[in-house]
């Protein structure tokens, strides 16, 4: 409307804007470069990596490293276990979070305040590593999948975010109208609240799922059996303790090994470990920004 009257930006402002664009470009490159370098290395030949020819793009294109990864039963087992931990764990997380957040969002719920305090206390005091470990041990959950599902079944942060969402995005009139029509609380939750809360459920699912996918510490302290190890634990053994599955190196000539095949393997492993999250990422990226924004509004 006022475009005709638009004043041309003064020199100082344009200078500042140029500086900002340059700085942001620099930040973007600094973040992007290591990722690109790892991706390129994973597709380069071992000799090119060791002789330091890879700087930006793949040199002597090769997918041998990837091929040998898929030979490793250890790794495939890890993948399989992580999928189980992630799917079941996330399901438990989301159900528990909704079960707690929904009642806390009902202004007429009498126990709301006391449960809120009961919950918040756990943010400030916690038993710490040893008492928690002994509890899991006493419950006979050591070295079982339950140890990776139950102790972290709920994130207080996610409960607060979900509660805030229910409170701010579901009009109270809706609840009253539903009750007038004889709708029970549980029915209201399932038929009205959940369908209206898809964005927050998506964000929550992503956050929890990424958490499970990346989890490593719980496996370190609770698991002993190799057939239960999640991907991250296997990765740590291969990548950081250099304990590669012999199957990965099978069919690999000694000469090739000396030329840094294990090095190439590591780059490829990193890429393989990140793929699922990378595939999910573009779809949910805009949602999680919204999720953090909702959370930051505070109730």
């Amino acid at each position: 409307m006022f475009s005709k009257n638009k004043i041309k930006e003064p020199l100082g402002d344009r200078m500042l804007l140029i500086v900002i664009y340059i700085a942001l470009t620099a930040v973007m490159l600094v973040v992007l470069y290591p990722l690109l370098y790892i991706f390129s290395s994973s597709l380069s030949s071992p000799s090119a990596i060791v002789s330091g020819k890879v700087w930006l793009f793949p040199v002597d294109f090769s997918i041998k490293a990837y091929a040998s990864i898929f030979r490793s039963t250890q790794l495939m087992m890890g993948y399989y276990n992580t999928i189980i931990y992630t799917v079941v764990g996330t399901l438990i997380n989301v159900v528990f979070t909704v079960l707690l957040a929904f009642p806390l969002a009902q202004r007429t719920f009498p126990a709301r305040k006391i449960i809120m305090i009961f919950m918040m206390i756990t943010l400030f005091f916690d038993g710490g590593l040893i008492p928690t470990y002994l509890l899991v041990k006493n419950l006979h959950m050591l070295d079982t999948r339950w140890a990776l599902w139950l102790p972290g079944a709920l994130s207080i942060f996610q409960v607060i975010v979900a509660r805030t969402f229910f409170q701010t995005s579901i009009p109270e009139e809706l609840a009253e109208a539903a009750r007038m029509d004889g709708c029970r609380d549980s029915r209201f939750l399932v038929s009205i609240v959940l369908p209206l809360s898809k964005p927050i459920l998506a964000v929550m699912t992503l956050m929890y799922a990424v958490g499970h996918w990346n989890a490593y510490f719980d496996a370190l302290i609770y698991l002993r059996s190799e057939n239960l190890f999640p991907l991250q634990y296997v990765l740590r053994n291969v990548l950081l303790l250099n304990a590669a599955d012999p199957e990965m190196l099978a069919n690999t000539a000694q000469k090739l090994r000396d030329q840094g095949f294990e090095q190439a393997l590591k780059y490829a492993l990193i890429v393989v470990a990140c793929i699922p999250v990378l595939i999910m990422y573009p779809f949910v990226q805009k949602h999680f920004v919204k999720g953090v924004m909702i959370g930051s509004l505070k109730g």
Partner: protein
């Protein structure tokens, strides 16, 4: 609000009306009791000599024995120094960066460029700790890693970066900044998005430059959330992340990488010294809590902003 007007009878009716809600919270509340409150009670192990056969409750009380042992152990000051050192370093290096990023992004109009910057800078947040540490190790490997090759290219000597104790803190902190700067900026971007547009219009009418606008509108708008974030970070000064440090540790850098959380793990779970380890952990959480409460108190006095 309707509850307030009513009497006890009303509350009882309300409770009856909401029996389903009680049923819904039952499971999560049970979870909190078992997995959060039972370990809290289990903290008493720190004041006992834990005996596997007698269990936590049957083991004899020994008072502050384990705490005293910890205070007198030769590791005590090293652990404190490393824990606080790494944590404060992270805070000082990492805290301002997301704010600057948010301010800069706020000046850029929505479009391809802005979306690219956001998408790329958020991405490393989703990389797992194991993979992150592997990346650090691969990049820093002598002779093969890109950083060392760059050093050689510039004529600097080959270095085993992760083997030098003096480098450990910087590697830990700056890789953390790299990984989290984008994601941490989201909360500030959200705060800036909430600024009343009429303030900007008024400023433009008065002839304020972009810089003036940032200083007089954007920065004050960020103050409350910044204080909250600062309180939270100061409240976790003693809680440096276990996973990343543990994975980055090696015998060569141990003198600057051993922190309380890694020590608790090693002494407690690896060494099966449950009571002593629990005492160290409890000491750590107590300092944390005191820090959080005092910072919150000071913030409320000085700026009227606080967690509660």
């Amino acid at each position: 609000m309707r509850v307030n007007r009513g009497n006890g009878n009303r509350t009882l009716m309300n409770a009856k009306r909401h029996w389903e809600l009680y049923l819904l919270v039952l499971l999560p509340v049970l979870y909190l009791i078992v997995f959060k409150y039972v370990p809290m009670v289990g903290v008493q192990i720190a004041f006992k000599d834990f005996n596997v056969i007698k269990g936590i409750w049957g083991s004899p009380w020994v008072g502050f024995k384990h705490f005293e042992n910890f205070f007198h152990s030769p590791n005590f000051w090293l652990l404190i120094k490393n824990t606080i050192g790494i944590s404060l370093y992270s805070l000082i290096a990492g805290f301002p960066v997301p704010i600057l990023l948010a301010l800069a992004l706020n000046e850029v109009r929505t479009g391809f460029f802005k979306r690219s910057v956001q998408m790329i800078t958020y991405a490393p947040h989703f990389i797992s700790t194991v993979v992150m540490v592997s990346i650090i190790v691969l990049i820093l490997t002598p002779h093969v890693g890109i950083v060392d090759r760059l050093f050689t290219f510039l004529g600097l000597p080959t270095t085993n970066f992760l083997g030098v104790p003096e480098y450990f803190k910087s590697i830990y902190v700056w890789s953390g900044v790299w990984q989290e700067l984008g994601y941490a900026s989201i909360i500030y971007i959200a705060a800036l998005a909430g600024v009343d547009p009429s303030l900007y219009e008024a400023a433009r009418m008065d002839g304020a430059s972009r810089l003036k606008k940032i200083i007089h509108i954007d920065l004050p708008a960020l103050v409350p959330i910044t204080i909250i974030m600062l309180i939270l970070s100061l409240g976790s000064v003693m809680g440096v992340g276990f996973e990343k440090i543990y994975l980055m540790q090696n015998p060569l850098n141990a003198s600057s990488s051993e922190v309380i959380s890694t020590y608790v793990y090693k002494v407690g779970l690896v060494g099966a010294n449950f009571s002593f380890s629990a005492a160290v952990g409890l000491f750590n959480s107590m300092i944390n809590l005191v820090l959080l409460l005092s910072v919150n108190f000071i913030a409320r006095r000085v700026s009227q902003t606080s967690l509660w």
